[in-house]
Symmetry: C2
Subunit: 197 residues, 2 copies
């Protein structure tokens, strides 16, 4: 969930009484994506599979895209790399990991979320919260590098983070995720050169 606080506000008393239902809905959605793919994913199909009423689903998820985003977020593993003392390596590792991860079914789901956000304001709002939170995470990498003196203190860490996020989204959206050997390092090197003191 991009912003759990939002989600809590959306929950009715009824919903609070049966959190298991929410879990059952997410699991049903995951199963449909796994077995049938994103094209077969709809609120109707998830309701049938979860044996839940559509109003119960709509209580938490106003649309197909918002439910897809939560399933994507829930399934996504934590990034493998912890903090290091090498910003270029951290960014290269992130680009390499995401480009591999998105070449699987997760990428098919996330590109559907971005597509839905172009016509569904609720999905757009939650995707923007999610993207903002991810940019903050990348921004922290850049702030740590700034504290080490690797990055000029005039740099806006969130703008640097946006350049990383933008490039990898663009690769996903234009079917260009397959990287040549050393390509992630080359991209990271050019990005980091722009941040150096």
């Amino acid at each position: 969930m991009a912003d759990p606080a939002d989600d809590d506000r959306r929950r009715s008393i009824g919903a609070r009484r049966n959190p298991d239902t929410q879990e059952a809905i997410l699991q049903a959605g995951e199963a449909i994506l796994l077995e049938e793919g994103p094209a077969a994913f709809s609120i109707e199909a998830v309701a049938r599979r979860a044996r839940a009423g559509k109003p119960t689903i709509y209580r938490w998820w106003p649309s197909r895209g918002t439910l897809l985003l939560d399933i994507y977020h829930r399934q996504k593993p934590q990034a493998l790399h912890g903090p290091t003392d090498d910003l270029e390596g951290e960014i290269a590792g992130l680009i390499e990991w995401l480009s591999g991860y998105w070449q699987g079914s997760a990428g098919q789901v996330f590109r559907q979320v971005i597509a839905e956000a172009q016509r569904d304001p609720a999905c757009a709002e939650r995707l923007q919260s999610y993207a903002t939170e991810r940019r903050a995470h990348i921004g922290e990498m850049i702030e740590r590098a700034m504290a080490r003196g690797e990055v000029a203190d005039t740099v806006d860490p969130l703008l640097g983070a946006e350049m990383v996020q933008s490039l990898i989204w663009h690769r996903l959206l234009t079917d260009r995720l397959a990287l040549e050997p050393g390509e992630a390092q080359k991209i990271a090197a050019q990005l980091v050169r722009g941040l150096k003191p």
Copy 2:
């Protein structure tokens, strides 16, 4: 048209006999977008308005997204700025111009094209050709700067171009096109710093 050569191959003899039909279809599509917006845009609606048969439309455009892309491309004005001797200014001008242009109806159309490309392979193929052609255009700005010694000769101009294109697409797709004063210059400055000798 992202790639006129492709288009010519797709044209049947019949189509070559009546190029006016193609023009009538594009104009009908433009009128629907202008008067009713992207949500009302469909091959059916365009066929009705152009008094053309759907098979005639499908002869050139296999899907809604491919027709939307051609209408977007056809309406888009040439960039206002010619070559200068200041790469940072050229990139800032491009970002400023596109962020303004995309805050109008053209941005609504282009984000629909990107959304369609996530589920429509024909649209994905033509969008990729179009995006490649636009990156080449930005890459030429960077090559000219390289020839002036503004950019390191180790830089990959197309990677630099992709960073510009990625960032502005990302702003469009996350409803963040409205720039603060000086923001385009700040973005361009950080991008160009990464390219300097």
